[in-house]
Amino acid sequence: MSEIHRPEARVEPIDSTLEPAGEPAKTKKVEEASLLADAWRSLRRNPWFIISGVLLVLFLSMAIFPQLFTSTDPRECLLGRSRQAPSAEHWFGTDIQGCDYYSRVIHGARNSIAVGFIVAIGTFIIAVVLGLVAGYFGSWVDAVISRFTDMVFAVPYILGALVFLNVLESRGVREVAFVLIIFMWPTMTRLMRGSVISVVNSEFVLAARALGAGPITIMRRHILPNSLGPVIGYATVFTGIIIGAEATLTFLGVGLQLPAISWGLQLSDAQPFLQTVPHLLLFPVIFVGLTVFAFMTMGDAIRDALDPKSKK
């Protein structure tokens, strides 16, 4: 059967009858706005965003160009000056091996932030995709994804790590990140799925379907922005958790391998000296803390910005 398409005329004429006549429509320049553009605009004005942004840039540059922050070689270690307290010469004191701790902590940023970042982003992507799909389609798709999630959940990540990291030739950032991603996505996925489920029945989703939007469009444009909140909130803290997990792996003997330098290794090394040489713990904790803080604050700011209602 033939399409009953109406003539081209349909595109235009409505305006010719109802064009705003009289005074020419004020041609005030209205900026193009979308949620993202708006979010960006309001972010730029959010002091917390700026603060966290600056912090993150600082940490990132620390990760990329540690030389900018210290000229001391982190591997220059003199056992004779082991575990010295902070002093003018060694701002953060020295570690067990007698290396300059300031320089160690600075150089530790690279591996830790890399692991934190890669894992957070990796799990985030997996979680968002799987959570969206499971929550949106429900029924058997959800069953398959959810049961699969259960299975991964069931495997203790420590077991997975022990196996994978032992089998792998070397244990670098990539390997550690890979293992952590593989075993850590389920929580976030469930979180995403949960919040998808709670918006999927909204009327505006119906409305989009009525417009002929396909699942992908609906998920992307309607469900995603309205369900991302909890996941963003979690993912930002997650970055910190990952750095902690890296330390745990190290503690269990399967973390990054010596002579790598990372905050996780430092945290793990410093634990025995909590009482005797607290600064060994203190400094990496401060750095990890600040990173987490930066991520968290940024997450909050983004979340806020993505919510038109909260725009001040």
């Binding site: 959810s146 049961r147 495997v155 420590i158 469930r190 949960g194 909130g233 803290v237 803390g289 919510d307």
Partner: protein, 308 residues
């Protein structure tokens, strides 16, 4: 609905089969001979080694091992035993209560504290308490569990003497510090989740209605706002309960609680496949049940969610 539950229960079977298979495979894949490690520096004689390997089916190909294991379970409810001859069922029987109590206490602590802190943080948004929650979350995340546990032991166990430092001999109070340690990070996350979800729902019209009905702010928040914001919280709590085992490995070690976490870690290191699988099976069961409950809770929390 009832059918939904039944269907979910049926799904347990493949989940358990597959995940035990995975776990078994993983344990199998750990390089090195577990029997060899048993003896330590001074190697045991080959004869002994052979006998032991045979006893634990270690010379069979992986799948054969796995099927022998499953077969043992099916035919004789034999869950295998450790390399030192203790039946896995015994171990579970002895250790499960410890881990379960720990998980329960942790769950209670983190749920109550997390939700209350979240509510207060939302109520006093950007004020002192809110910042306090934020900063303590940062601190909890940044401090390794070991350190948190140790600090708690030092302060509340040694210096103040309020709670036992270790062991399970003092009833429930033995579990307070370990549970606090385990709950530390999650409480912070939970509080933040609840806070931000609450803040979201406080913007909604129905909360406005509640205000217009003359309800007190606390009631508005707890009765009208909270329920709508609980889905992420419930998901998180469920997921967290499920992942408590990873946490319990460390916490049970520091606090010397003879629970499953400790055992599973030891068994992973000792490559005692049967033990790991036995315990993990238990955990899988636990997860799927928890997740089923969580999914049912969704329906309770939000009646718009339908089960097909």
């Amino acid at each position: 609905m009832t059918r939904y539950i039944i269907r979910r229960l049926l799904q347990f079977i493949p989940v358990i089969l597959i995940s035990t298979l995975i776990v078994y495979a993983l344990v199998f894949a750990i390089p090195g001979d577990p029997i060899r490690a048993l003896a330590g520096d001074r190697p045991m004689s080959d004869a002994v080694r052979e006998t032991l390997r045979e006893q634990y089916n270690l010379d069979d190909p992986f799948l054969v091992q796995y099927f022998k294991y499953i077969w043992g379970i099916i035919t004789a409810l034999d869950f295998g035993s450790t390399f030192n001859g203790r039946p896995v069922t015994d171990i579970i029987e002895q250790r499960l209560p410890v881990t379960a109590t720990l998980a329960l206490v942790t769950f209670v602590i983190q749920t109550i504290m997390g939700i209350i802190a979240g509510i207060l943080a939302a109520l006093y948004r950007d004020r002192f308490f809110d910042r306090f929650v934020q900063v303590s979350t940062v601190a909890m995340v940044a401090l390794p569990t070991l350190v948190i546990g140790f600090l708690l032991q030092l302060i509340f166990g040694l210096n103040l003497g309020w709670f036992p430092i270790a062991g399970v001999n003092n009833g429930l109070s033995s579990y307070i510090l370990p549970a606090l340690t385990m709950a530390a990070v999650s409480t912070g996350i939970l509080a933040r989740l609840v806070r931000s979800e609450l803040l979201d729902s406080l913007k909604s019209d129905y909360v406005r209605t509640a205000t217009a009905k003359g309800m007190k702010r606390t009631r508005v928040i707890t009765r009208h706002g909270l329920r709508n914001s609980l889905i992420p919280a419930v998901t998180f709590i469920g997921a967290d309960l499920a992942s408590m085992m990873a946490g319990s490995i460390i916490v049970e070690t520091i606090f010397n609680l003879p629970g499953l976490g400790q055992q599973v870690f030891a068994s992973i290191q000792g490559q005692e496949g049967t033990v790991v699988v036995g315990i993990v099976t238990l955990f899988v069961l636990f997860f799927v049940v928890i997740n089923l409950i969580v999914d049912l809770l969704y329906g309770l929390l939000d009646p718009r969610i339908r089960y097909e």
